[in-house]
């Protein structure tokens, strides 16, 4: 672990490689949708730092790009978001979404 600025260390895996260790059986319906127009007015952006799957990506025009596929269905985003209507949150279709592994 090298090249760490100001004493912070960073993952030895890229985030893409890290989340590639998790299995997702993706359904074609997006179980979570984000209203980009509402996000444009949001200055706090808790979702961007807190989503453990890193699914909220700020865009250059001040919006949010959201991908539902590699989602843990944890609830962090809707719990933290203070803007009514920004996030529409449901579980994926039964049998789809994240699958934690059995031995």
């Amino acid at each position: 672990m090298s090249g760490a600025p100001t004493g912070e260390r960073w993952p030895e895996l890229s985030f893409e490689d890290l989340i590639a260790t998790t299995r997702f059986d993706i359904h074609e319906r997006a179980h979570i949708t984000v209203d980009d127009a509402i996000c444009a007015d949001c200055s706090t952006r808790e979702c961007v730092v807190a989503c453990p799957a890193n699914l909220f990506v700020p865009t250059s025009d001040g919006g949010i790009l959201f991908n539902y596929e590699q989602c843990f269905e944890c609830g962090t985003c809707y719990l933290l978001c203070n803007k009514e209507g920004a996030i529409t949150w449901t579980y994926p279709e039964g049998g789809h979404g994240v699958v934690f592994k059995r031995t």
Partner: protein
């Protein structure tokens, strides 16, 4: 899937709470459907890593002969970290490595799958890959079943037990929760890291099926929360639990906070060199008693994390046992109500009575100050340095300077950490009241 038939009970969620509830009802001879949205029970469920299964003595005597455990926890350490220091309190007991045991590391997909299989063996009908999407109610508002995401998927029942976990949309839909406040929740993230068994045995100084549970205070990069390391047979579970509003209000992402923990000089030698097998995340209801919903509605009960039954305080996590127990009591109360032909909230009142009379709510009442205390800014940001610096100076040999007295060191380090005597006294008293 049965159509328009009414079963005695629907249990939503085949986690530890749901499987325990379904087992009890099936054993009483009632028809019970155990609904699970995952493709198998446990597929959606993650936790840190230790189950305390003694409550199963009642449901599945000698559970240890068949439960899918990884290691028996015979060594429990609590670590306090600063950037460069670590103070560890380490406890070992050989008794914990023999029946009836204390805690065991286990993977949730294994554990939950096993427990749901027991409910099935007792006669519950397990239906996987099916999400309950809402409640069915009659004209008076009484819960009479659930809607699901299957075609023609409405299911009718005399009683519904919501064991649908921390986000419980069913309990919320039933109006059992007040306002939902992010401050009552923490996010847990974890890496499962593969290492050869003999390497784990050596690094953690254990043998055979003996295992280690390490809880860590001060290793969360300044975000209020806690860290953990658990030994499985040939993997480690390494993760952090982070208070949601604090996490949202700073710059480090969850995986970076784990990476920082893994890079700590006291932690790196334990975890380095392994291969990450899985990255996982889940939310925890952290605030205990103060966030619990109403437990009973007409035709419905709520158990486990759905009712915020998890006993959690940053470095302290017992949820599976509380889920299994509350599920079991919900099952007993539902059976009693079915027997009496009254599944109104009044008829189901035996549930809360059982919760009140047993460790479930007694422990929560006893420890009701713990979550706020352990996650408080002083405990999180000031005490680790105060403790570690005090210990460092006690053990430092500073010749030719003579050794200072402990009282002087403590007083100086308390000041240096910016802790007022009054606050230290208050927290000490709170701690004694809580844990004493």
């Amino acid at each position: 899937m049965p159509e328009q038939t009414t079963v005695d009970a629907i249990v939503v969620g085949a986690g530890p709470a749901g499987s325990a509830a379904a087992t009890v009802l099936a054993r009483h001879g009632y028809s019970v459907i155990l609904l699970e949205r995952g493709s198998f029970p446990g597929s959606k469920n993650m936790y840190g890593g230790v189950v305390y299964p003694r409550i199963l003595d009642q449901l599945h005597p000698e559970w240890w002969l068949e439960a899918p455990i990884q290691r028996w926890v015979t060594r429990r350490s609590t670590m306090v970290l600063t950037d460069t220091q670590a103070v560890t309190v380490d406890f070992r007991s050989t008794d914990w490595g023999a029946p009836p045991y204390n805690g065991a590391t286990a993977y949730r997909p294994d554990w939950d799958h096993w427990l749901a299989g027991k409910a099935e063996a007792d006669g519950a009908l397990l239906v996987c890959s099916t999400t309950a999407t809402g409640l069915l109610r009659d004209g008076s508002g009484r819960v009479v079943g659930v809607t699901t995401d299957r075609p023609d998927g409405d299911l009718h029942a005399r009683v519904v037990i919501a064991c649908d976990g921390v986000n419980s949309f069913l309990a919320k839909e039933a109006g059992l929760y007040g306002e939902v406040d992010a401050a009552n929740y923490t996010l847990g993230v974890k890496e499962t890291i593969a290492l050869p068994k003999d390497v784990i045995d050596e690094r953690f100084a254990v043998r055979g099926r003996d295992g280690v549970d390490i809880e860590i205070l001060g290793g969360t990069s300044g975000v209020n929360g806690g860290g953990f390391i658990y030994t499985n047979l040939d993997t480690l579970s390494v993760g952090v639990v982070l208070k949601l509003p604090k996490l949202g209000a700073q710059k480090l992402r969850p995986e970076q906070i784990i990476a920082n923990l893994k890079a700590h000089p006291a932690i790196a030698p334990l975890v380095e060199g392994g291969e990450i097998k899985e990255y996982s995340a889940h939310v925890i209801p952290e605030a205990g008693l103060s966030m619990m919903p109403t437990m009973t509605a007409d035709g419905m009960l709520v158990a486990g994390d759905a009712a915020a039954m998890c006993l959690a305080a940053g470095i302290w996590l017992e949820g599976v046992n509380f889920a299994m127990a509350s599920g079991m009591y919900a099952g007993e109360a539902a059976a009693e109500a079915l027997e009496a032909g009254d599944t109104s909230a009044g008829g189901l009142a035996g549930y809360e009575r059982r919760l009140n009379d047993t460790f479930v709510l007694r422990d929560h009442r006893k420890l009701h100050r713990a979550p706020a205390l352990v996650l408080s800014d002083r405990v999180q940001h000031r005490y680790p340095a105060m403790i570690a610096n005090t210990v460092e100076r006690m053990f430092r040999v500073d010749n030719p300077s003579p050794k200072p007295g402990l009282r002087r060191i403590l007083n100086e380090e308390r000041k240096r950490a910016g802790v007022r005597i009054r606050d230290l006294a208050k927290d000490t008293l709170d701690g004694l009241r809580t844990f004493g």
